[in-house]
């Protein structure tokens, strides 16, 4: 398969291997025309498809089969070096066959669109994929920084807490930044936003191995809606490849039948989907097709019950040199053989502490692997139990005839069995060459075995899943098929029954497979103290047994401390291959009983999740919702500079009027005072309150009595919070006896709506006189948000009335008095004309349906009025001392804002009680004043603090708003200043240290322009 491919500049590992006399490449895959097939009745290469593809790894092109993972294809091509470890840059190969891979992490793609830290073991190849190993320079074989490990003992745990101090950290920082970390950060985002799906189901089964499928079947048969999440591309777990018989048929056949039954029952099977977290009662899972982030889907699943069947993880054993490439977990090697048709290279040694070693040895040998030795730490362990499949029928005979016969049989197959022996060390430079083995009780009687692959298995540990799920299967400790099926089935039935789905008539399946392994715990082989620094626990972060000793010596003995001090288990696989081993060895080093070993706490996400996935589709323009007015498109098309203000996009100014906001706003404001202008005020909140009790209700809401308002008139009204401070201000229009329209500040629309609804729901309303029949309860009242059903156009300035009169000939506008409104018709729609404004000019506000807004706006433009933006609106209102949320900042009372007359009316509204507090009458309460620069044209900005002297450090208040007034040709502003310093004419200082210094200002009336309000009345 590889021979047809011509390698590029550098020789492939295959040529070098051939030169060095090692096993030729082609022999790692059985040389049948299609590598998928059957050898001695056993299926292998089940994930492969027929087509081939090529990909690149570190600049060299390799061939692969469709369905191959990067690890499988590269192993088949004879590659043994996949990367280097984080701390000491030691050469690393492939250790596992799943996402728990600590060593073989690759970078996919070309700069800057790279995706780093992708496990080669889960990355399914596409044609033309470009892969690179990580953490090495200049190349994988010759890494400059690995020379640092020559001084090996320098790099014990926590060395960076004790080094790099002299002369200064800054000398080392650039070097360390370059060397540290894992993988290259992408320069641009290669990932597209994920799809998001919310779904709900009755039973969520995590994991579709034998236990998961069985439990899902049980629940689905009982009638529950079932969703199964499986992190592999296909369902089945061990059923895909282990020798098993379920319900009388081979395991994989039973699996196919069960999956079909599940689909028929309506279950949803999500493959490539890993459950990563749970948030309350929502489980978050994400799909990474082909092991690559991007093009993925994030699921938010609400499940009635969650069953965790996530299986168990094989554990390694620590020995000297256990990090060499060529050392792999036994189960991983079996998976590579069964799923991808790749057999382990060269002479193979197996090392472990349970009897499944022997079954695995025979299975691999059946595939053509050259197994030379099995090192079993158990002294009197059982060799083989009777197995159901023909491939190891030999073993049945051997087992029946006794251990010596079995050993002789294995020896006849070329497999030497060393029971009661342990593996002390693995030797090699960039890959394993030989191992040193000795009897457990006679460590000096060591001998070596030459090998190129070492398959290790130290038993299994249940994989951690969601904390609140019920656990079944291998994750619950049942590692053999025979014993897990019935409990798994029961778990499924129980989950369904808890949700009310009755038990069905079916029975649990019965299966047999690899029998229960009897594991005699064995964590590490003995080693001299000096050699403990080469017994690795965490392969990614180079944490060794010596490091644990250092941590204990430094006083960190709790696993959580040790984890953080030594960096054990903090890598991409979060300790799946190292936590339990480390915890056990730590307990041993501390002299504790093995049962006292504790592992560190796992936190979500349970699998790596990119920020891209977490962000979902809320990126870019979708990051934050924005609201558009009905005239939005016109503003955008005519040079309006739209800025977000709260949720709304509003035009600050129009480009035709000036090159920046400051100059344009001045031009626009001046034009309004000179002739006139129109502004889009549709962002005002509008709430309609309708009903017999509407007036009485609003009396409780506003500072002044709403019931006194006459039909057809509007009034400026203020609302207080319960604590007496001002909540908002706006206009109240009485449309009818029982119908009111209240406007709010643009930013307070929803808050005021909730405030009104809350008061309606929870206040006793004793003062309301209800006109409803006596048997009714509650209030004859409705509150409805109508913000979006009214567009509002402000028409302001000396020419506003004549212009508008031209458009609305039937309305007698000169008889419309200030704060009165009238409903009329324009172009077939209702328009409400209110004589009021926020500019101090003679002005009208036109309330019209959104569909009419553009038409009306256009008509006003054609009649000669020009638009002005929000900044100009601000200039006009500051000149007149009108308030916005800059002054109504949530910290002032109506008294502070000069509304004594309104308070004095004594209306019993929300907040009146607490407004009466003595503290609100103290002399240092803020008071609203106007400010002008003492020397004419000096500027001062909103936010400047008010002080008594130029360098004064005690703040008396601050400037709330400031604008350059074209009318007065100077800067004017409004401020909240301590009342005892606010007599007119007082000179104060506006201090603005961050933006440019201090300005002397004079206290003046907040109404800077036209204090008698003549312009508003249409008088010159």
């Amino acid at each position: 398969m590889n021979s047809a491919d011509r390698p590029r500049r550098r020789p492939t590992n295959s040529r070098r291997a051939a030169r060095e006399g090692r096993v030729p490449v082609a022999e790692t895959r059985p040389p049948v025309p299609s590598a998928k097939g059957a050898v001695e009745g056993k299926r292998y290469g089940t994930r492969l498809r027929d087509s081939t593809l090529t990909f690149t790894f570190d600049g060299v092109r390799y061939a692969a089969r469709a369905g191959d993972t990067a690890a499988a294809a590269l192993l088949a091509a004879g590659v043994s070096l996949f990367g280097r470890s984080v701390k000491a840059r030691r050469p690393r190969g492939v250790f596992t066959a799943g996402p728990e891979e600590p060593c073989a992490l690759l970078t996919v793609g070309q700069s800057p669109l790279v995706i780093p830290n992708v496990p080669a073991t889960t990355l399914v190849l596409h044609a033309g994929m470009v892969l690179r190993s990580q953490n090495r320079w200049p190349s994988l074989r010759f890494d400059f920084a690995s020379l640092l490990q020559v001084g090996g003992s320098l790099f014990t745990a926590g060395f960076y807490y004790k080094t790099f101090f002299w002369p200064t950290w800054r000398v080392f920082e650039p070097i360390i930044r370059h060397l540290a970390g894992l993988g290259e950060a992408p320069g641009a985002c290669a990932l597209s936003p994920p799809a998001v799906e919310h779904l709900s189901c009755d039973v969520l089964v995590v994991g579709s191995g034998p236990a998961g499928v069985t439990a899902a079947l049980a629940a689905a048969r009982a009638g529950a809606i079932v969703v199964v999440c499986e992190r592999e591309p296909v369902c089945g777990g061990e059923l895909e490849f282990e020798d098993s018989i379920v319900d009388g048929m081979p395991g994989y056949q039973w699996l196919a039948r069960s999956l079909l039954e599940l689909r028929t029952l309506g279950a949803r099977l999500l493959c490539n989907t890993t459950v990563v977290a749970e948030a309350g009662d929502t489980v978050i899972a994400h799909t990474e097709p082909d092991g690559l982030p991007g093009d993925n889907t994030v699921y938010r699943i609400r499940a009635g019950r969650v069953l965790s069947a996530v299986g168990a993880l094989e554990q390694p054993i620590a020995f000297i040199g256990n990090d060499l490439p060529g050392v792999m977990l036994l189960g991983a090697a079996e998976r590579y053989a069964a799923l991808y048709g790749v057999r382990p290279r060269g002479p193979v040694v197996l090392f472990g502490n349970h009897h499944r070693l022997y079954a695995a040895a025979l299975r691999l040998r059946g595939l053509g692997a050259n197994i030379v030795a099995i090192v079993d730490t158990r002294v009197d362990g059982e060799l083989l139990k009777p197995e159901p499949t023909a491939a190891v029928a030999l073993a049945q005979v051997a087992a029946a005839e006794g251990r010596d016969a079995a050993v002789a049989l294995l020896r006849a197959c070329g497999i030497a069995c060393y029971q009661g022996h342990t593996l002390h060390a693995a030797h090699g430079w960039r890959g394993i060459r030989q191992v040193r083995v000795a009897p457990v009780d006679a460590p000096h009687a060591a001998f070596t075995i030459d090998c190129q692959s070492l398959l290790v298995s130290g038993g299994w540990v249940p994989q951690r899943g969601l904390p609140n799920a019920s656990i079944t299967g291998a994750a619950a400790g049942q590692v053999d098929l025979a014993s897990l099926m019935t409990p798994a089935y029961d778990a499924g039935l129980l989950a369904a029954a808890a949700l009310g789905f009755t038990v069905s008539a079916h029975t649990a399946p019965e299966g047999t497979g690899d029998p229960l392994p009897v594991v005699v715990p064995y964590l590490r082989s003995p080693a001299a103290a000096a050699e403990e620094k080469r017994q690795f626990i965490d392969l990614q972060n180079d944490v060794t047994v010596a490091d644990l000793r250092v941590a204990i010596a430094e006083g960190f003995s709790h696993i959580e401390h040790v984890k953080r001090y030594t960096t054990l288990g903090i890598g991409t696989e979060q300790g799946r291959t190292s936590n339990t081993l480390g915890a056990g060895i730590l307990a041993e080093l501390r002299g504790l009983e093995p049962q006292q070993a504790q592992t560190s706490r796992a936190r979500p996400p349970l699998a790596p999740m990119t920020l891209n996935s977490i962000a979902g589709q809320r990126t870019g323009a979708a990051f934050r919702v924005s609201r558009h007015t009905p005239l939005h498109d016109w503003h955008a098309a005519h040079g309006g500079v739209l800025d977000p203000m709260g949720l709304w996009l509003r035009p600050r100014y129009y480009r035709a009027n000036g090159r920046d906001a400051g100059s344009a706003a001045v031009v626009e404001a001046a034009r309004v005072r000179a002739t006139g202008g129109i502004a889009d005020c549709s962002t005002l909140g509008k709430i309609e309150i309708v009903g017999p009790d509407a007036a009485a209700f609003l009396d409780e809401i506003f500072l002044t009595r709403a019931s006194a308002l006459k039909v057809g008139r509007a009034r400026y009204m203020v609302q207080l919070r319960e604590d007496g401070l001002v909540l908002d201000d706006g206009l109240l229009l009485r449309v009818d006896e029982q119908r009111f329209l209240a406007t709010t500040s643009s930013s307070h629309g929803l808050e005021v709506l909730s405030h009104l609804e809350h008061h309606l729901a929870s206040a006793p309303g004793a003062t309301r006189a209800t006109t409803l029949p006596t048997d009714s309860r509650g209030c004859g009242l409705s509150i409805t948000d109508v913000t979006d059903s009214w567009a509002v156009i402000a028409v302001a300035g000396p020419s506003s009335r004549p212009t508008l009169q031209g458009l609305l000939p039937t309305v007698a506008l000169d008889r419309l008095s200030h704060m009165a409104f009238i409903d009329t018709e324009y172009a077939g729609h209702t328009v409400r004309v209110l004589r009021a404004g926020f500019s101090g000019e003679l002005a009208f506000e036109l309330y019209c349906p959104p569909v009419l807004a553009a038409v009306l706006w256009q008509a006003l433009l054609e009649a000669g009025l020009a638009p002005y933006g929000i900044d100009a609106l601000d200039i006009l209102r500051v000149e007149k001392g009108y308030l916005t949320t800059a002054e109504i900042n949530g910290q002032v009372t109506p008294l502070d804002l000069g509304m004594q007359a309104m308070v004095g009316q004594g209306n019993a509204c929300i907040g009146q009680t607490l407004l009466a507090r003595p503290a609100f009458h103290e002399e240092h309460r803020p008071c609203l004043v106007g400010l002008q620069a003492a020397d004419g044209r000096a500027a001062f900005l909103a936010g400047a603090q008010i002080a008594l002297s130029a360098g004064g450090t005690r703040s008396l208040g601050y400037v709330t708003s400031s604008v350059f007034s074209p009318t007065l040709d100077r800067w004017v502003g409004l401020a909240l200043v301590a009342r005892n310093h606010t007599s007119l004419g007082t000179t104060l200082w506006a201090r603005d240290p961050l933006r440019g210094g201090d300005t002397a200002v004079c206290v003046v009336s907040p109404v800077h322009v036209d204090p008698e309000g003549l312009r508003m009345k249409g008088l010159p």
Binding site: P193, A195, H198, Q617, A622, R777, T784, T787
Partner: protein, 155 residues
């Protein structure tokens, strides 16, 4: 996405008043005319939404108002409407809310879709959504984005 031409009414019943004859009384229930078009949607406690001009309906509202039973609010222009059809439509909506879960025991609901306040109605063959007008541009962009992503990932 399109503007709604017909008059839109939100009708609020005053507490203690009986639900008028023939109105959808259960939360989330809907009353349709003979053509299958929704006439009244019970979208909130004591609140009904009438999305279409149906003969006699406005007269009915006026009668109820005069009798002091409730208040009819004309909210023309408050919503824009968008239809989602088929499996693709359902998939797009599922990217912002648990469609099946929310409509499990009802035909209509007041919801938040892609951060926009909206009313959702189950129709034959799909769903109809009324989104508040000021949010419509954001909603449309979010829907198009979700549709593009769904199409890409499925394919």
């Amino acid at each position: 996405m399109r503007s709604v031409a017909s008059p839109l009414v939100e009708f609020v019943l005053f507490p203690g008043q009986p639900v008028p004859e023939g109105w959808p009384a259960l939360p989330g229930s809907v009353v349709r005319d003979t053509a299958g078009q929704a006439v009244l949607l019970h979208v909130g406690p004591l609140r009904w939404f009438a999305p279409a001009a149906v003969p006699g309906l406005s007269a009915a509202f006026q009668g109820l108002e005069r009798a002091g039973t409730g208040a009819a609010l004309r909210v023309d222009g408050k919503y824009e409407v968008c239809d989602f059809s088929g499996a693709v439509g359902a998939r797009i909506l599922a990217s912002t809310l648990d469609l099946a879960g929310i409509l499990r025991s009802r035909d209509c609901a007041a919801v938040t879709l892609f951060d926009c306040p909206a009313l959702l109605l189950r129709e034959s063959g799909g769903y109809r959504v009324w989104v508040q007008t000021s949010y419509a541009a954001h909603f449309k962009a979010a829907v198009e984005r979700a549709a593009a992503i769904c199409a890409k990932i499925r394919g």
